[in-house]
Symmetry: C2
Subunit: 474 residues, 2 copies
């Protein structure tokens, strides 16, 4: 059933996206320009993401901390590349307690500065290392064009910041966190991704290099989905983080940072959802099963309670839609909100010893015996839905991934049916800029262990150095 | 064993407090004036508080949302009392994206304005009500004098904001949330409290009335610990939150708000902790049991693992102190960090079929059979510690609670051994101000169902209206 409040995604993808955000009550625009209100349905998805990632961070030896929101200008400016990168998009506090401040302070766009300043005061010896801290917080970047979840002035995220004794250990951490993100995207969000290294132009301001997780949306546009940065000693030199090493010498520490944001909610929408509204993978859905009793008959309510109790006991997140709205209204509501499974329990069905199950991902309706082993059935169905969503997205990504050998080919693809374009690159900035002229095509990442598909740069024809995935980005 | 890094709390309470914060690695001052860094040990306590309260909020029908950090000046000014109350202590953003803003924006000191603005756009009918939302976030108030956890420019908190169809329902919510806070303080933090209504002078700016939870610290100083406000229609009139009621008429909605903050960590320190460092009630301790193997002998390590596995399986939060530091160092570390129980496992003890348990609250050492039913024993001991901490604090509060009938009495008490002073009040501002001259004594709350202890105001001698608890506050 088409939802009338939702534009078709094939007609107008951007309008479809905001319609889904609104219809599923994930967020609304606020009267604060460029900022959204996270409504309960949207925030619950973020809470679920947090709980899973937070556990993975803790299992790998990280601890949570909390750094201040405000960064004094001088502290912010200590690392030159970072301030150059963020200066255009920070907000400055200039008045506090009715007085003009002697030194203005910016609202954190990211917290390398504060973590580094803290680390410089607590790290003394190799015995203090590693320190592997993370924080969940809000950050602010003064974006001009905004879109709910994908790009807004304020967003929520986590930022991990670690300090290590050796380059090897820090690089290991950078890789490990990338892998945690990849696993989270593929095995929880059911979103297939590619991973690799950013080019110099696209890396994080202040990093030695940036590893990235990149996903492809339904419309073929790329989304930078999570990043993990290796800093080497850049920040430790700027903020004077030294330690006495095992050879009794003072050495600058090695650092990393890594983060992902509420943008992941946008990715869920743009990869899985459809014209009926939100579609959520079971592992990330705050509510996995909607039970709809049809009518008020005693046997219907008894069965409803029985099903609810059994699922609840098994740790399956379910709820009963028992208000006075019509069954049709409830079906549509469960659908638009992306509840993975709907169970319909009606008097006539029960008389025939039947109950009905509906999958949100395919819309398929299954009629089963009323006394079916419900927890086994639902557990398996949730698994099937999770897997189906992943493979559907994986096949789409495959069908939108191209190998190109000349510019004309890339132009055609990006104009008609964009996606991930694999093409060789010489490593020169100018060639990278040339590709940007094609609808803003940018390097998503350098694939490091793939076979080279050609020996010439797709732009200049000179000797190629890297196999790069290119795409148009959000 | 006295901790050398910690001043005695009877010698210099303020210094003792900051020494404990530092020695237990809860927080450090940052280079951002008036703001602290929450270190892992401090933040873990906050996470534990969040997880318990959040569940209680959800069980009582609340949902989490997230509102913007920034509030445009005009939106902030719509409710007159609120802006008058907060104007002296807000921070203003005047520059964003390298441009002077047309309208300055303040960093939220509290979010009534944003919630009300949101509610005005989504509430249409009584069918939409109640809306019971909460958010966990950071807020900023430009305090002049700061102290870790108790008062800092930025702090973390939760703020619940609800909208109701009737006065009765909103007042019921106000009371229910006060009761949730009271229960949390007494049954989780092990801190006895008094509750009641704030005077007009002390209530929240913009509230019809404020209910409060007040606790007494070790040194007899009072701490406002959580508040629950009934707004009536004040904000709904200022922000135009109207709904079609059951009689088909437009009506202004009834609102509440309620909150508590990271200040609770300060309360834990000032109520329970001692000269050896932090003391935590087991229900709020992120780590409940420290297991210290003494030496590396096989039987010691086997027993250590056995104890650890058994406790872990039972859901008791325990950890093994197995680095290469000396046992004495580890004992001191477990002590300063407030781990409720320490288990010592040594070769000689095991040869005698014994293991040793040490309670952090009393320092008592208990030697038990090595094959004791460890989970039952520890579970009971954690309960005992939880109860003992509550009763110790309760007895102290009782011993520092006074009934006074004249001003001289109050002066003596507040100068020598301050605490909660019960005294009658006529309801006049001037008498309230007169008491403030006594070391800043303020009304903590009006006790509503208590017996009147006198018929005259303790200040002016005129007819008394209220029994009030007075105290010197943090």
């Amino acid at each position: 059933m088409k939802n009338k409040a939702i534009t078709s995604r094939d007609d107008d993808f951007a309008k479809w996206y905001t319609d889904v955000v609104k219809a599923a009550k994930l967020a609304t625009y606020s009267n604060v320009k460029g900022c959204i209100v996270f409504e309960p349905n949207g925030y619950a998805i973020w809470e679920k993401m947090q709980s899973i990632l937070d556990q993975k961070f803790k299992e790998t030896g990280h601890q949570n901390v909390y750094m201040p929101l405000l960064i004094p200008e001088n502290l912010m400016k200590k690392e030159g590349e970072l301030i150059d990168g963020f200066a255009p998009e920070v907000a400055w506090v200039t008045i506090g307690g009715q007085k003009k401040l002697e030194e203005k302070m910016c609202i954190r766009p990211t917290s390398e500065t504060l973590f580094s300043d803290y680390y410089s005061s607590v790290v003394k010896s190799y015995r203090d290392l590693p320190l592997k801290y993370n924080q969940w917080c809000n950050v602010l970047r003064w974006e001009k064009e905004t879109r709910p979840f994908l790009r807004s002035r304020e967003f929520l995220w986590q930022e991990g910041h670690t300090v290590h004794e050796t380059r090897e250990e820090a690089e290991q951490e950078t890789k490990m966190m990338l892998e945690i993100y990849r696993d989270f995207y593929e095995n929880y969000l059911a979103i297939p991704v590619i991973t690799g290294k950013k080019t110099e132009k696209e890396k994080f301001a202040g990093a030695e290099y940036t590893l990235t997780v990149e996903a492809l949306m339904y419309n073929g546009i790329s989304l930078q989905s999570a990043t993990s940065h290796y800093f080497g000693q850049k920040f430790s030199k700027a903020y004077d983080i030294t330690f006495l090493n095992r050879h009794n010498e003072q050495e600058y520490a090695y650092q990393t940072s890594w983060g992902t944001t509420t943008r992941m909610i946008g990715a869920l929408i743009m990869v899985h959802s459809d014209d009926k509204g939100l579609v959520l993978p079971p592992k990330i859905a705050p509510r996995q099963v909607a039970i709809v009793p049809i009518g008020n008959d005693a046997e219907v309510l008894t069965k409803t309670n029985e099903v609810y109790d059994k699922l609840k006991t098994e740790g399956i997140s379910c709820f009963v839609m028992d208000d006075d709205k019509s069954p049709g209204f409830k079906f549509a509501e469960a659908e638009v909100n992306g509840i993975p499974i709907r169970i319909e329990i009606g008097k006539r069905d029960l008389a025939d010893d039947k109950i009905t199950f509906v999958r949100r991902d395919t819309g398929e309706k299954m009629i089963e015996k009323a006394n079916i082993d419900i927890t086994t059935y639902i557990t398996k169905l949730l698994d099937d839905i999770q897997n189906n969503l992943f493979y559907r997205a994986y096949e789409r990504m495959q069908s939108l991934t191209y190998e190109c050998h000349d510019l004309k080919e890339i132009e055609d693809i990006m104009a008609n049916r964009p996606g991930f374009v694999k093409a060789m690159w010489c490593g020169n900035d100018k060639c990278e800029m040339k590709l940007k002229e094609i609808n803003g095509t940018k390097a998503r990442c350098i694939l490091e262990n793939d076979k080279m598909i050609d020996d010439k740069c797709v732009v200049c024809g000179k000797k190629a150095k890297h196999l790069v995935v290119w795409g148009i980005q959000y």
